[in-house]
Symmetry: C2
């Protein structure tokens, strides 16, 4: 049985009302607020059908209806109208992001901005190393047997690692290695480097090979294996709004999940080109987040994507508004990145 237009209207009205009021919505108040041209009784019949189909449910017999995860899903996919950002929001975004001096700065500002605009928990992934290219590698001698390896990526990320060398190395040897390393790896996409690194070792004169091998292993470890994705988080306090009625009374599992970087990455990573992804309640793979929804998207200069960002909130969230905000912020950040 397919749902006719009015039933879909009813579902939309239910979602909108419930999101706004946080209370189960009944047939009567529905017809009052949304001028559907029919009587409460008719709406009740529709609601019965919607319930049978699994889009809404009653928390208790004889209290209004509440959308199910499936209901939200349908709403997001087919019913929600795109909401344009208010000029105030646009201005807020611009004001917030200009004057960032640093990649760190950009990410921090972005995540706070996102949390503030959506009033939810925001997550921003640092530009992924795997999607970056090497702009420069720097070797800084710390002592005769120690070198600080600094890698600067074209996305602005800077990673450093202390390297313990197998034996003492002269300063000019370091300089020389720096330039060979830069010659071979500079400009290369990080994902492509492993074979190059190997070649680098093989091409090194024997007397220096142990040192170079050591360097190479750290390089690989840092940049590739330890797939060093970082994320920033903000707005956890927003979880405690709304009396915790969402999240069935305890924030514990949600907060726990948010402490795991791996989980955060899973939430906002796995970005496909330029879509906005919405995961609703049970669609989340993480058990602790079954009562939450995640809206995420990718960002990057131009059309390329270098990282993900998104927000997390209760399933009862303003999807159209959130989606619009997430998209807008992602676009602004992308533009900002393109300028560098």
């Amino acid at each position: 049985m397919s749902l006719d237009d009015r039933k879909l209207d009813v579902l939309r009205a239910i979602v909108e009302d419930y999101v706004a009021t946080q209370e189960p919505v009944g047939s009567k108040s529905l017809v009052e607020r949304h001028h559907l041209g029919v009587s409460p009784a008719t709406v009740r019949n529709d609601m019965a059908v919607l319930e049978e189909e699994g889009y809404i449910r009653q928390p208790h017999t004889s209290a209004g209806r509440v959308p199910t995860d499936a209901g939200y899903r349908l709403f997001v996919d087919r019913l929600s109208r795109v909401k344009a950002l208010s000029p105030a929001e646009r201005r807020a975004i611009e004001r917030f992001l200009v004057g960032a001096v640093d990649l760190d700065d950009v990410v921090h500002r972005t995540v706070r901005l996102l949390a503030q605009l959506t009033r939810q928990v925001a997550v921003v992934q640092y530009p992924s190393l795997a999607r970056s290219s090497v702009r420069h590698l720097e070797l800084v001698p710390i002592s005769t047997t120690r070198v600080m390896l600094v890698m600067i990526a074209d996305t602005g990320r800077v990673e450093q690692r202390l390297v313990e060398l197998p034996g003492p190395v002269a300063a000019d040897a370091v300089t020389e290695m720096r330039s060979t390393v830069n010659d071979k790896l500079g400009g290369q996409r990080l994902a492509d480097t492993p074979p190059l690194v190997q070649a680098l070792v093989d091409d090194t004169p024997v007397d220096r090979r142990p040192t170079m091998a050591c360097l190479a292993s750290v390089l690989l470890e840092t940049l590739v294996e330890r797939s060093d994705e970082r994320v920033a988080l903000a707005g956890t306090a927003n979880l405690a709004r709304g009396g915790m009625l969402d999240f069935q009374g305890t924030l514990r599992p949600v907060l726990e999940a948010l402490e795991e970087e791996v989980i955060l990455l899973k939430l906002i990573g796995e970005v496909e080109p330029s879509t906005t992804r919405v995961r609703i309640g049970d669609e989340n793979e993480i058990d602790n987040l079954r009562s939450a929804s995640v809206v995420s998207t990718g960002y990057g200069p131009g059309t390329t994507i270098v990282g993900g960002l998104g927000v997390l909130g209760p399933t009862r969230m303003d999807y159209p508004g959130t989606i619009a905000t997430v998209r807008a912020v992602a676009r602004y950040v992308g533009d900002l990145l393109a300028q560098n």
Copy 2:
């Protein structure tokens, strides 16, 4: 009126019981659990006095007593016996901290360790730049008018900033500037650099002065003015343990406070030499944290202090245990730092 020994014993017993059970403690259960050699009636009299003096109070007439902030304070100052760490805890600390490759890594591991051991919110400050010395300054040309400035401090911290130069600069000029900058600033304590930086500009040949001035201003801004202290946070999920009975029902204000880096720094910064500081409830200057306690201390290689760390939890916390853990972790981290 001074409190005699038994009254203090009673206070201690009350604190210990309340911390353990989370329930107001009455005279009867007190004498049962702690073998004070007196009758409940006597204890009642003592409790009346303690209440009069403001160390304990009754949530409602005729329910047991609960320590006040002042009661906890007295307990911490005079009554608590130092609790030795269990061997298991010691092992946990060591296991957790070995294998850290990075300053970032050390800090992250530490903060998680601390959260896990104390089952509370943990905060760790990165080694303060103000207390560090310059180990090396690196200038990496990004384009002809842009340079990446990387500063490596002796504490292992690495800060970078993109510098927009007033005009194009040749590669060898950059190299030259790098070495002069390093000559002048290398090894200097960061707090002492501002005049040196000024001198640096003055000593620069006129043709290069604008570039150097630009560099200098970024340097000052990054390292000094923007007093770039960073902190790591973990264990917020622990706030949601114990049904939120502490924190009068809502975590919101606490979570909000924890989102502000400035506040976190205030909590664990301001370190005096090698003391452990305990701030109980109202003693906190931050309004949002009036129902929380903070245990903090400084850490650093040897006896010097380069940063602070600590935990935050409900006033009803196991002070002796927490203090012991915080101290132990600080010491281990200090040792770890000393090795570099």
